[in-house]
Symmetry: C2
Subunit: 233 residues, 2 copies
């Protein structure tokens, strides 16, 4: 009883009824994008339980077998979804910052974009957290993470560097930022940002997005003051 698999004959098409296609073929690229979108949507709705081939294919409105036609296995689909998710976030923040003129305005726009929809959303954090949970034990996820996280830190660091350089022009020192360690400053701001983001998503009632922006700006102000050498006078 292990012979080649057969399939039941499909029901005879209803005569007199306009024959509609049962599905539409799509270009692999479009279909891949749709499957990635469905994966993220499932993560938002059902958390880690949403990471199942059947749930995702149902969300995308396709059959179970299609996923393995476009992705070699589930891990690669999840990694592709993670990559897309990451890329959208970083690109969105980068674009928001680029729309402003001065370094200070760019940083402010970056912070406000970080603490506004669609980024500041409990669903979004839920997706992140599921990905992080896979991080330790999934090589593809690790690869994507190291690729995009570097971009993110570089963005924050660039924004800070521009701000400090401008401030230094009217300040006392120059060069390495007036004794301020730019590397540590970027790490600190990133941490404060991510921490506030995380806290807000876990308990949205504890503080307001405006307050989070204010905390970050206060931190940057203190940094600028130190860069200008206020404390050595």
């Amino acid at each position: 009883m292990k012979g080649p698999r057969t399939r039941a004959v499909p029901a005879a098409p209803n005569p007199g009824e306009a024959r509609r296609p049962r599905f539409r073929r799509q270009l692999p690229e479009q279909r891949r994008a749709a499957l990635i979108a469905a994966t993220i949507e499932c993560l938002k709705r059902y958390g880690h339980d949403g990471l199942s081939i059947r749930t995702i294919s149902a969300q995308a409105g396709v059959s179970v077998g299609l996923i393995n036609h476009h992705f070699p296995n589930k891990d690669e689909l999840v990694a592709a979804a993670f990559s897309h998710f990451n890329r959208e976030l970083v690109d969105g923040l980068k674009a928001a910052a680029a729309r402003a003129a001065s370094p200070a305005a760019r940083l402010r726009a970056f912070l406000e974009a970080s603490f506004s929809p669609p980024n500041l959303d409990a669903d979004v954090l839920a997706v992140w957290v599921v990905f992080w949970g896979l991080y330790r034990h999934s090589r593809p996820i690790q690869r994507v993470q190291s690729e995009t996280y570097t971009d993110y830190v570089r963005l924050v660091r660039g924004l800070l560097a521009d701000l400090l350089d401008k401030g230094a022009e009217s300040g006392r020192r120059r060069g390495k930022g007036g004794g301020v360690n730019l590397r540590l400053a970027a790490i600190g701001l990133t941490a404060l940002l991510d921490g506030l983001w995380l806290e807000w998503c876990l308990e949205p009632g504890k503080f307001r997005p405006r307050e989070a922006v204010a905390l970050c700006e206060g931190w940057v102000e203190a940094l600028c003051r130190r860069a200008a050498g206020w404390n050595s006078a």
Copy 2:
């Protein structure tokens, strides 16, 4: 064929061999603790995949059925493990802070404990992250989170309050902390702390624990200066 289940007769005990008990009975409390410890160990080793009844029971050295004898279902076991994990962390930090004398030393001890083993460990973060991934869709997890997170923030807030009060004695103002919003300050420090912790665990090579402590202390120093009213002179 749905009659009552029977079991195969056990193999006859080897004659002449000292008969050893096949298992040892334990008090429910001890067994529960062992199962919780096994759950956390599995999470550290295998991530979310470790959250299976069979994996956990194997880790604990018991049979699959025992878990449901001590816990009504898997969710309750996981919630109990989360609660224990949370409690150990908060109690450990609280104890570390309590060992110091002055408010400043207490805060320093708290920070250093936060950025030292066993808290600063990639395995530990992996466990956290799996729990967070369950947060949105598990009522028991949410219950535990709201119970212990409040304790944590209260601890940070208390440490900050003591520090600011002491500083205010020799400062210019008193009462509400010299214009400093204690609620926001506690939120900010918690966020900075958690963010640095998260970043270090994700990419331990980017900075050193000592630098994380320094960043936090710098943040607190700036806060104290503002509380003392340096900027209104």
